[in-house]
Amino acid sequence: MTRVFDASIGSRGLIQSQLLPEAEHLLGWGGEVVVPTLFMQETLSAIFKAERRGNVSSESADEARIPLGGLRHESLEPGPFLDRAYEIALRFRQSDIYDAVYLVCADDVGAELWTCDRKFVASFGRQRPANPKLCPDDV
């Protein structure tokens, strides 16, 4: 099984003030991981926000950035996912299209999508598909 992680997994697995053991465990998994390039940008932005807010020290933010670049994820161009992500975000009245980009990416490569974003998962209501998997509930 291949896995896709979204930025909420990156944030809760790497940022000290947000750390969740189950997200750490997912990031340390030894199988194949695929992410749209958005993952790196969004997770870095979350690290930046945590440092800007003073939730973590600059040293701690630096420590979070080190593994982000070394986790050996396959990075995919997000372009082919955007139109379908837009449609999903509109249909389920989501706050933006980013989460749906990860979902389309996972579906396209036949992977599990893992997220910590409870609101995104809840947005599907009774039409929740097999993806996404919610961390920690579905771990």
């Binding site: 697995g13 000290q16 003030s17 969740l20 080190i66 609101k119």
Partner: protein, 81 residues
């Protein structure tokens, strides 16, 4: 091992799907690297907590992650414009 081909560059979906499956050696190497990196995160976390750092609860994190969302207000009736 195909390091440099599988990792470190952005691929299209088609390029990714054309890759051969990970070998056992590649899986073991990925696990070794990730385990080492995440052990560093865990060590830093223990120091963070020992220094009195606050770790968000799930409820705090949910609110923090979505604090800029104003989607409920945005998703009003469709304008007739």
């Amino acid at each position: 091992m195909s390091e440099g081909v599988r990792y470190g560059r952005v691929m299209t979906v088609e390029e990714y799907k054309a890759l051969p499956p990970l070998t056992e050696e590649e899986r073991a190497e990925a696990l070794r690297i990730r385990t080492a990196l995440m052990a560093g995160v865990r060590r830093e976390h223990e120091a963070f907590v020992a220094a009195g750092g606050h770790v968000m609860t799930d409820e705090e994190w949910d609110a923090y992650w979505h604090e800029d969302d104003d989607v409920e207000e945005d998703w009003g009736p469709v304008s007739a414009k």
